[in-house]
């Protein structure tokens, strides 16, 4: 708590904390997208023919699709020919130890607060740091390899575990799923691949830090996590990006597959550049995240803290196909200034005795708009499905908006679906109480906001929970009081 106070003070007049550019030579493709770009990209990454075909199929389908405009967000039209689809650090990025890594790159990590050398000793977190499109270094790999866990960059996985990639790629989010998923399938540059073998409990939390670096590069990450029978993995994803004036598109795809008794916990802290106070610049974060509880008693849990991006548009979803499977979604979405967020989840109940929980906390400040949009669908054969949803919105200021669009579709009479939503502001009486106990107004508000989000923060791994609190304080600075 006191730590977040400090941060708040430190940053009361600061610009975006992570707004710096790393000066690394990168090799970039010319702007624009056509079949040749994809062929070149695929060749560059030495991909097998089937994957190229897969990409081309996605691209051809994408051409027939129209960009959707149904979400409750407004943004400048995106020119897909004005985007660089591939950029990589030029110096050969294959290292066995950190000494070989470009010092400037290491410096970047330090600024981000993730010194790799410390990571090894501390926290027990293996970091697969992605700068732009190529995975630069992967730690803890050997240790994980002992247990048979595969944790590597996507391109590496394509080379070394083609059978797994071939089997699972696109099995949860098909190439044709939606406009941005199709685009991603055509041009995805890199990402992470995780495979947890049968019965293995991943001993450490796996983490990837994404960074968007080269100006005008859209990042098209692809993450695939497969948890075999009875396995467990906790995966962390954290995002920061340098300050830019042009809008940058990020259209990632995340696919999770949990087989019998497997448990995947996926946590995100998203803090990309939100644009300045007037809404100039900032990242467009259009992500497709979906988990498939394929096996019996499997469980997928999404936790997200969204404070960044000019526009956030994502719905981490669970398809509860296996009997007795569990889907969870815990979210804190904070918007300030001109930020817009349209986020939520989809819980598709297919198997018997499936359960899902949705806890969504939205905070809007400044002139921002924050929408929760969620679907709970109980299919015809989903006996005894149970859903509980709670969507709360907190408004800070009279220029912002909070919106709730839940869809409940129930086709089975044994289902129990409960949804509740509230919208309010911080109570004058609560503030008064804390202030008469000697807290400054700003501290009081921070305390109330943190308490409001506690339910979600509890779901985060420890390191992330601390970071999330800081982020929250930074995101809301200037809007409180």
């Amino acid at each position: 708590m006191s730590e977040s106070m400090q941060t708040l003070e430190e940053h009361t007049s600061s610009d975006y904390k992570y707004g710096f550019t790393t000066d690394i030579e990168t090799e970039v493709f010319p702007k624009g997208l056509n079949e040749d770009t994809i062929r070149r990209l695929s060749a560059k990454k030495e991909e097998p023919v089937w994957l190229l075909e897969w990409r081309l199929k996605a691209y051809r389908h994408w051409l027939t699709m129209e960009e959707p405009h149904w979400p409750n967000v407004k943004y400048e039209p995106i020119d897909y020919q004005d985007i660089i689809y591939y950029a990589s650090p030029k110096k050969k990025p294959k290292y066995n130890s950190l000494d070989e890594v470009d010092p400037e790159l290491l410096n970047t990590f330090e600024k981000l607060g993730i010194p790799l050398e410390e990571q090894k000793v501390l926290a027990g977190v293996a970091v697969d740091a992605v700068i732009d499109s190529v995975s630069v270094t992967t730690t803890y790999k050997e240790m994980l390899a002992e247990k048979g866990i595969i944790f590597c960059s996507f391109s590496e996985a394509v080379k070394e575990h083609p059978e797994l990639i071939k089997k699972y790629l696109g099995s949860v989010v098909p190439q044709t799923d939606n406009f941005f998923a199709a685009l991603n399938s055509a041009v995805f540059s890199d990402g992470s691949f995780v495979y947890i073998p049968k019965g293995v409990r991943c001993p450490i939390e796996l983490s990837t830090y994404f960074r968007i670096n080269t100006a005008n590069t859209g990042q098209f990450e692809r993450t695939l996590i497969v948890a075999e029978e009875g396995s467990y993995v906790s995966y962390l994803e954290g995002c920061t990006a340098p300050m830019r004036d042009e809008n940058q598109l990020h259209a990632a795809v995340v696919e999770l597959i949990a087989l019998d008794d497997a448990y995947i916990k996926y946590s995100t802290v998203q803090n990309w550049y939100p644009g300045d106070a007037e809404g100039r610049g900032g990242i467009y974060n259009f992500v497709t995240k979906r988990g498939l509880c394929a096996g019996k008693r499997s469980r997928i849990s999404w936790t997200q803290v969204e404070t960044g991006s000019a526009i956030t548009w994502k719905y981490p979803s669970c398809i509860l196909k296996g009997d007795d499977s569990i889907g969870e979604f815990y979210s804190v979405a904070v918007t300030n200034n001109r930020q817009e967020a349209d986020t939520g989840t989809k819980m598709i109940h297919i198997g018997k005795n499936t359960r899902s929980t949705i806890v969504s906390k939205g905070i809007s400040a400044g002139r921002s708009h924050n929408s929760y949009r969620g679907l709970v669908k109980v299919g015809k054969r989903a006996e005894n499905a149970h859903n509980f949803s709670q969507c709360d919105s907190l408004l800070m200021g009279d220029k912002c908006g909070a919106h709730t669009f839940p869809y409940l579709e129930v086709e089975n009479n044994t289902a129990k679906v409960e949804h509740e939503a509230t919208t309010s502001k911080i109570g004058e009486d609560q503030l008064f109480y804390l202030q008469q106990r000697g807290l400054k107004e700003e501290d009081a508000i921070n305390m109330i906001v943190n308490g409001y989000c506690k339910e979600v923060f509890q779901e985060l791994p420890m390191e992330f929970a601390a970071e999330a609190q800081k982020l929250l304080a930074i995101s809301l600075e200037g809007s409180v009081g």
């Binding site: 149904w70 015809k380 919105s393 408004l395 800070m396 200021g397 009279d398 220029k399 912002c400 908006g401 909070a402 919106h403 709730t404 669009f405 839940p406 869809y407 409940l408 579709e409 129930v410 086709e411 089975n412 009479n413 044994t414 289902a415 129990k416 679906v417 409960e418 949804h419 509740e420 939503a421 509230t422 919208t423 309010s424 502001k425």
Partner: protein
């Protein structure tokens, strides 16, 4: 679904419709345009203002298409079965006093307006000499010449260009609209009871239109009562109502829909509230094959109160879709919404409730609750409660539940000696009782409860 007329041309157009889905819409609009022209030719001349307005509505309709499930507002309700039929306007059919009496609400002293197949039957209605003081009732054409002409024409103009084709259609066809005005300070105790009978083998369409203007400080109750048709042939009701509540007015608005399971109904209701007014709506849907109700309440001035109550009890292959829209445009208003329903058989219920709090509407208090019991394996419920909030100093919440009867409550009742069926029915009755208990007219409440009770016991 039997075709209205077994003509060869009809069957051909059916085939074409199946082959070319995009062509359906314009084709079906065409049916209504044809009907419009036919009706015009045979009906007595209307005042020129109304006639030109209706012509404009018809022209606008011609350029429209009927919504499909691809339209967000119609995502859960397909109107295909309604609009793919060829309809004729309803004709007056014989009806006698005994029939009216037997359909009346017991012990309710009312001001009766009887309609058969959409046509007004003065002989069976309460004569104007017995209307209470302070209440003026006029036909649409008459009212358009009166003091409310400006408000009504503005509304009609908007409806003629509306983006909902059913509203446009009602405007084009709505010749039998009724206007009710309650004078300043008048308290009308007896509810105006609109008894909508339908009878005969022929399939028909009707376009009722209701206007209510409650002047400052007045109190008024109105009930739209759609009675079941004996013959199992379809008819289609496309209704529009507009209510305006001036300062301090109170209006109770009942809509009791218990038509046969072959009936279609699409309702559109607009309410405007001025300062300190209280509007209460009590909508009960028991019948109908496909029913769609839109209820929009606009709060124009502060310190108003709005209560929206709804019941849906459906089974078989019924489909009932309730859409409510609470528009909090000004500060210091309260709204309270409670919709409860039981869906069994292969029925499908839809609830879409939206609460909008506009930027200046501080101190808004809005509450919305939708609860549904889903009691059979083939029943479906889709709920979409929405909040759109642009002001910060508000208290808004909504809740939606879809579930079953409480097993422990059933167990308790059975330990007290109630058979299973009895216990279940009692719990269902109590579930809906929360809504019926809000009805202020005891006779109406008893009547609705009896209907609910009968429907629960017979299925």
């Amino acid at each position: 679904m039997p075709l209205p007329a077994e003509k060869a041309s009809n069957r051909i157009s059916e085939k074409i419709n199946q082959a070319m889905p995009t062509a359906i819409a314009s084709d079906n609009i065409g049916h209504f345009i044809e009907l419009y022209e036919k009706t015009k030719a045979h009906s007595p001349a209307l005042p020129s203002r109304l006639a030109s307005l209706q012509n404009r509505a018809a022209a606008h309709l011609e350029a429209m298409r009927f919504p499909s499930r691809r339209d967000e507002d119609w995502k859960y309700t397909s109107v295909r079965r309604i609009v793919s039929q060829k309809w004729d306007l309803g004709q007056v059919a014989p009806l006698n006093l005994t029939q009216v009496e037997s359909a009346a609400i017991e012990e309710l002293e009312d001001i009766r307006f009887v309609f058969v197949n959409g046509q007004f039957v003065p002989a069976l209605s309460t004569p104007s000499s017995q209307w209470p003081k302070g209440l003026t009732i006029k036909s649409l054409a008459e009212a358009l010449e009166g003091q409310d002409a400006a408000w009504m024409s503005a509304k009609l103009e908007a409806h003629a260009q509306h983006d909902n084709p059913f509203v446009v259609m009602n405007t084009a066809f709505g010749q039998n609209g009724w206007y009710m005005e309650v004078q300043k300070g008048a308290i009308i105790e007896k509810p105006v009871h609109l008894m909508m009978f339908s009878t005969g083998e022929a399939a028909f369409v009707q376009f009722p239109q209701l206007w209510v203007h409650a002047q400052p400080g007045s109190e008024f109750s109105v009930m739209e009562h759609y009675l079941p048709k004996e013959e199992n042939t379809p008819h289609f009701t496309c209704a529009v109502s507009c209510l305006r509540l001036e300062a301090n007015a109170r209006v109770h608005h009942y809509r009791l829909q218990r038509e046969s399971e072959a009936a279609f109904q699409i309702n559109y209701c607009e309410v405007e509230q001025e300062r300190d007014s209280v509007y209460s709506s009590y909508a009960t849907d028991l019948g109908g094959a496909i029913v769609r109700n839109n209820l929009n309440v606009l709060l124009e001035q502060s310190n108003t109160e709005t209560h929206l109550n709804g019941i849906y009890l459906i089974n078989g292959e019924q489909h009932v879709d309730n859409q409510t829209f609470m528009d909090h445009a000004v500060p210091h208003c309260n709204s309270n919404e409670l919709y409860k329903g039981i869906v069994t058989g292969k029925a499908r219920g839809v609830f879409n409730g939206k609460v909008l709090v506009r930027p200046d509407a501080q101190k808004t208090n809005a509450f919305q609750q939708n609860s549904t019991l889903l009691l059979s394996p083939d029943a479906v419920m889709d709920a979409k409660p929405q909040l759109e909030i642009f002001a910060d100093d508000v208290r808004c919440s909504h809740g939606a539940t879809i579930g079953q009867l409480d097993e422990s409550a059933i167990f308790y009742l059975r330990t007290r000696g109630l058979p299973l069926k009895e216990a279940r029915t009692l719990l269902q009755f109590a579930f809906l009782g929360e809504v019926t208990s809000n009805m202020p007219h005891e006779a109406v409440r008893t009547f609705v409860e009896k209907l609910v009770h009968d429907k629960l016991y017979n299925h």
